[in-house]
């Protein structure tokens, strides 16, 4: 397959990335501003031998893609905040059963129904901690239409490698803007590791990840959201077994947080460093173009697990400025990993940060002394 250059919106590029990555089952429910992902999948999947289904709600969509994954497919759903909230129940099930799948969240203004057609990044903490109990996940954040394609592909590979739900935390701006995108024809699919015939279905390998006992491949596996032993059988009354299981499932991701880090480190010797992901990255890139060599930039394509060790690469940092389309959700995470003053630069309502606003935030940051300061834009 050769590359194709097209002019698409981000949601459509995401669907094309999924098809290129071998996704052959999509279950979803319409919701603004993510619906173009489902529409494109509905048009494309039947042509590549896949299946699209519109479910009765997002609870069912999440359930269906987990079922489809166990039947052997790469599976995906797409939604926005209200639907993401409904998916939390079965996201926890996917974490506990170590089911690889991809969930696209094209974020809009919340809480509740909020602003359906306006961009936000208000679901970043929910992505990490939204379902009950302790678990870890992987969340990617695209800041261009090309990244909607590329990171969707990457999401499937990470989901299979770590046997976890992976979130593509897009936003309305990236989902709906149109840009040139190269639909790569050479996407290599790294398949999930199949359970060996002599392996127990929930016994981890050296990396903490068990082999995947695909239904119909002779394993006769039992999969349950209950705490389970290495055979996969319910075992709910041993404190030690439960703690080992949860710690192993968290560790299999968190232990690789810096190895899988996908970041840009720009001007690492600068004193004022911007940390961004998603749409605000575009504004920061413009600021750096307008003021060359002045500011540093730590751009995150993988937000969770947070690549904490990379912060140390900004050796001269006197302040980290975190512009987000929420009230400082990732800024709090940055604060946890550094003694450098953190300046949160939140913006709500759907409008992007302007270069002038970022410049103002940088000026405040240059004299910041407190450990955590909010700058009003």
């Amino acid at each position: 397959m050769t590359d194709k250059t097209e002019f698409l919106n981000g949601n459509t590029a995401c669907a094309e990335g999924a098809i290129a990555a071998g996704c052959r089952f999509f279950a979803g429910y319409p919701i603004t501003p993510s619906t173009e992902v489902a529409e494109r999948m509905a048009a494309r999947l039947p042509k590549v031998g896949g299946t699209f289904i519109q479910m009765e709600d997002e609870l069912a969509s999440m359930a269906a893609i987990i079922g489809g994954a166990w039947a052997g497919a790469r599976t995906m759903t797409a939604t926005s905040g209200p639907g993401f909230s409904l998916m939390m129940e079965n996201i926890g099930y996917a974490a506990m059963t170590e089911t690889p799948c991809v969930v696209v969240n094209v974020q809009r203004g919340g809480p509740s129904t909020g602003q359906p057609t306006m961009a936000a990044q208000g679901d970043m903490i929910q992505a990490r901690f939204g379902s009950h109990g302790d678990y870890s996940i992987i969340a990617l954040a695209p800041s261009s239409v090309q990244e909607m394609f590329d990171l969707t592909v990457k999401a499937f590979d990470l989901a299979d490698r770590f046997r976890t739900p992976v979130f593509l935390m897009a936003d309305e701006t990236i989902g709906h803007m149109r840009e040139k995108v190269i639909l790569r024809g050479d996407v290599e699919i790294i398949p999930r590791r199949e359970l060996g015939s002599d392996e127990l279905p929930c016994k981890p390998d050296a990396n903490g990840v068990p082999g995947f006992g695909t239904f119909g491949n002779g394993h006769g596996v039992h999969i349950t959201g209950l705490t389970h032993d290495e055979r996969g059988y319910p075992a709910t009354d041993s404190a030690a077994l439960h703690e080992n299981l949860v710690r192993r499932q968290v560790g299999k991701i968190e232990n690789f947080r810096n190895e899988i880090a996908d970041v840009d480190i720009v001007n690492p010797d600068a004193e004022v460093i911007f940390i961004s992901y998603g749409a605000p990255t575009r504004a920061v890139q413009q600021l750096l173009a307008d003021y060359p060599g002045v500011y540093g930039h730590f751009n995150l394509r993988i937000v969770w697990p947070f690549p904490d060790a990379k912060l140390a690469e900004f050796r001269a940092a006197k302040a980290f400025v975190v512009p987000e389309m929420n009230l400082g959700q990732i800024a709090r995470e940055v604060r946890m990993h550094t003694n450098v003053p953190v300046v949160t630069a939140p913006k709500l309502g759907g409008a992007l940060h302007s270069v002038d606003e970022l410049k103002h935030a940088a000026d405040v940051a240059a004299t910041a002394t407190g450990t955590f300061t909010e700058v009003l834009l």
Partner: protein, 262 residues
């Protein structure tokens, strides 16, 4: 394959209380599966949460014990990715008709090729005997201490109205008829819904003047009215007496199917 081979032997004995009807229904299901000669590796059991849903874990083929009420959308994902599989769902009255009610309606509407076996014990057994949408009017449960004051669902009527291709109701007393119905359900393309009245002597019988298991079985035997007799009575203007329910094959049709075998 023998009947025993369909059981996950190292998981037995099961957790069901002495006298529970669920083990009988599991046995009838695996008997039907074995009689049909289904291929173990092409058979998938899916279940939700509750006493009924533990049944999936006692089968030796691939099984998915999911979240409360969501067995049907999980099964939908399995079936659409592997339409060559026979996918059988174990559920209960609370799982299917309360928290999972919307999924039940839509699975029937899609007429997806699943066999759904609902163990209806009129109660939430696993949590200790709370009222369910299928608790009979007036019955005592831990959350209806003065008697259930809401009308119950007729699950088979819901399945029929929503579009299932095959609908039947039996009880844990009617083991031969139930096994035959499950066989027919598996063989019938589309959604097959089999409601099985199951005794919960621990939480239901003990509070409703049926302390002995045999009293509950006897209640099923005497209150079950064969479909043919019910129809003759209705034609003669005789209404179904309170507490009675119709058993038999209630619907068999061949509407378009989602996820049928290729």
């Amino acid at each position: 394959m023998t009947l025993e081979d369909w059981y996950r032997q190292d998981r037995l004995p099961h957790i069901y209380c002495a006298g529970c009807g669920n083990g009988t229904i599991l046995n009838c299901t695996l008997r039907a599966v074995n009689e049909l000669g289904l291929v173990q590796d092409r058979t998938t059991f899916v279940s939700g949460i509750g006493c009924s849903s533990r049944a999936a874990g006692y089968t030796s083929s691939d099984s998915l014990h999911t979240t409360h009420g969501r067995a049907l959308p999980f099964a939908t994902g399995v079936k659409l990715v592997k339409p060559e599989n026979d996918v059988i769902v174990f559920t209960g009255d609370g799982d299917l008709s309360a928290i999972g009610g919307n999924h039940f309606i839509h699975a029937c509407r899609r007429n997806i090729d699943l066999t759904v076996i609902c163990m209806n014990n009129n109660i939430y057994g696993m949590t200790g005997g709370q009222g369910s949408p299928c608790t009979p009017y007036g019955a005592i449960t831990t959350t209806t201490p003065y008697g259930m004051h809401e009308m119950p669902f007729d699950l088979c009527a819901v399945a029929e109205a929503a579009g299932a291709n095959y609908v039947a109701r039996w009880t844990s007393f009617h083991v031969k008829e139930l096994t035959e119905a499950i066989r027919t359900g598996i063989e019938t393309p589309g959604l097959s819904f089999i409601e099985v009245m199951a005794q919960c002597p621990t939480s239901f019988g003990s509070k409703n003047k049926m302390k002995q298991v045999s009293q509950m079985i006897d209640m099923f035997r005497t209150n079950a009215v064969l479909k043919g007799k019910a129809e003759r009575d209705r034609a003669a203007g005789i209404p179904l007496a309170p507490g009675k329910f119709i058993v038999g094959e209630l619907v068999r049709r061949s509407n378009p199917v989602l996820g049928g075998r290729p």
